[in-house]
Amino acid sequence: MRHHAQLLTAFLLCGMCISIAQGQEFRISKSKPAETLAEAAAKAVHARLISETGALIPGGSAVIGLTFDIAPGWHLYWHNPGDSGLPISWEFDGPDTLRIGEALWPAPDRSISAGDILDYTYSDRVTILLPVELSSEHPMGSAVRVRAKLSWLVCREGCVPGGTEVELAIPTAATSSPGAESARFEQARARLPQPADSLARQGGSVAWQDTTLTVSVPGAESLAFYPYASDFAQPLGLIEDGEANGSTLTIRYRLTGESGSAIRGIVQVNREGRRWYHLVDVSPPTR
């Protein structure tokens, strides 16, 4: 009896004997092989196409979104990625009855790394909004099928290019109501730059002194500036000058070549725990 019990115990303790016998791999060591950067990056971004409203109305306008959930430690890039990186990009496909407007990108974060490298990034979650108009000719009741082929560069210390295809079928109806993801749209809207006159409505102003742009917002506790990419206007020293306590930002610009088009950026105003984002859209300084 005791002998059988000992055998049984030994066998139970030797669970690995069975699995080895079955030809399964049995790891004796406790540590797993380290995950490669590429493996971690493949899991770091979860992208979806979502609709702000539950349905689209033929003849009406609405907003859809490209939404990204980003794993901790990783980030994606704004349309101006900054010194390094690559913006999120996409190719969109939908019915002829759907017109897609210009994408609305939430304001990014400033990301500074060793060597004075300044990037404009998104972490945790971001939703890029796409205003849409559905032709009245789109048959009522027939769903609107949209697809996007997404590309991005996702980085931790190292970077990995990635992408995916996302799609969504949005019902059409005579009326609509908020969709399941309205919270994401609200969060994104809270970080959209408001149109160029909104800065003035907050009492702020923008002016050139030679090639230095001065942003002044009386009452602000602190300000930050996110420049749009430009072929001919390069802001300088943004690590020091792109963020300031108080009510003034001075951004030195270097202008090269033919400076015809407007110089744009986002001004972030912080006051009493609240934030506002204003679009700045100015002509180059006259010379």
Partner: protein, 214 residues
Amino acid sequence: MVTRRTGLFAGLAAFAALAIGVSVFTSPATAGGDSEKAKVGAKAPDFTLTDTNGQEHTLSSYTGKGQVVVLEWFNAGCPFVVRHHEKYNTMTDLAAKYKGKVTWLAINSSAEGKEGYGMDKEAMAKWNIAYPILIDADGGVGHMYGAKTTPHMFIIDTKGTLVYAGGIDNDPGDKKSPADKINFVAIALDEVVAGKPVTEAETRPYGCSVKYAK
């Protein structure tokens, strides 16, 4: 308890001050303001770095011998560098085309422990890189040139003047058709080697951030 914490804080502060003081005196090139960085049109900062075979290379010894010099900031772990050495042979083709007239040097400013550090020998073998890769692990030369990305390209003429700084081409996303792709370095090298001024001397560099120590 308060006394002990103060003492510890004072000790840490003293150590930090000492560390900062030491680094200011011993760092070969301070990451200073814009005025210390290389400027297109001005003399390119001279430097000496050691390559993966332990051989020293000094910039002025090449320009002094009538060579045009290309500097290619390099990190074998960066997908943009991989693209130009694996999907395309952008760098090695150009280096081979101008062999004899142009000395092509890759520089790796990745700090020890960061991406790209120690990956050079394997990269040279895998990608058939015939030119030296210089090790700049403390980032001194990278800071002197203001190298921000890998790749980040610089061209120095035979007089030692920096005549080009910027990207390898106009296509960060690798999306343009061959007809629309512009290789800025190829064009600039044509001009420099022909003794002509570089028409597009500064472009926007793109790539991964250089993995500096500080």
